[in-house]
């Protein structure tokens, strides 16, 4: 990672599933430019995709349509990713972690909710600010690892 790559990239995409690939490809390119290894770049892609999934799903719930804003801050030893939507918000504590995935019967497994689990596992930092009517901001940090 070097200071030559410091800067900020902002992307706005329609809150629709067909634009997810655009977000993933953009952050993958940024990760590559910053010198992250291929596994870390894949982690970044997955997590931005999951944050956008949440935004799209909640946008559709309130028929908000609208856009998702993705701000990528390229810092000295880390990439900070902020995914903001104007949807109805959600409670990040209502995550699948409340289910004991090691013991639950397959028949009782939820069909959704695995996204936040992935983000928490793959990112170094994760914060979610969500308020009814004020949208949701997901902030994630991926730090560089010494070669």
């Amino acid at each position: 990672m070097n200071t030559a790559t410091a800067g900020k990239v902002e992307l706005r995409i329609p809150a629709r599933p067909e634009f997810l690939e655009v977000a993933r490809l953009t952050v993958a390119a940024i990760g590559h430019k910053m010198g992250f290894d291929v596994d870390a770049i894949e982690d970044i892609k997955v997590c931005v995709g999951e944050a956008c999934n949440n935004a799209i799903q909640h946008a559709s719930e309130c028929d908000a349509g609208g856009e998702i804003q993705i701000v990528c801050s390229l810092e000295l030893n880390q990439l900070v990713l902020e995914v903001q939507d104007a949807g109805p918000g959600f409670d990040p504590d209502l995550c699948i972690e409340q289910v004991d995935l090691d013991t639950v019967a397959a028949e009782e497994l939820p069909d959704s909710g695995y996204g936040l689990l992935l983000i928490k596992a793959l990112m170094d930092e994760f914060h979610c600010l969500s308020q009814p009517g004020a949208g949701t901001l997901v902030r994630m940090v991926k730090r560089s690892r010494p070669a």
Binding site: K45, G49, N53, S112
Partner: protein
């Protein structure tokens, strides 16, 4: 995005579904529909070949979990074959690796299904 689903029937209860490309909120519903169609036609033993999936997100996981549950309601089963390392990582993080029966080859998966043992 280049995405397609190949599928074929093996016998009157068994089918193989082989998606190709990236599975996300945009494409996962297509897999869900294909498996539901096969299930409705009586193919309740489904093998999903993941060898050509290079990206699978939580919606893809949800489709696989949902398919497993609904097939079991019909006394059927779902098997996964040859997930790529990236897909395997997602299965491991979510601990769904303990839920699905995962095989290295289609032949092994088919042999594991009821009435198809060697």
């Amino acid at each position: 995005m280049n995405f397609e689903i190949n599928s074929r029937t093996v016998d009157d209860r068994t089918a193989v579904v082989a998606p190709v490309g990236e599975v996300d909120l945009h494409t996962a519903p297509e897999i869900k529909r294909r498996i539901a169609e096969l299930s409705d036609q009586g193919y309740t033993q489904i093998v999903v070949d993941l060898s050509r999936i290079n990206y699978l997100d939580s919606t893809g996981l949800g489709v696989l979990v949902g398919a497993l549950k609904r097939l079991r309601e019909k006394d059927g089963e779902l098997r996964l074959v040859h997930p790529t390392p990236r897909v395997m990582r997602v299965l491991e993080i979510t601990r769904l690796v303990n839920v699905f029966q995962i095989f290295d080859s289609e032949e092994a998966a088919l042999s594991s299904l009821t009435g198809r043992g060697a």
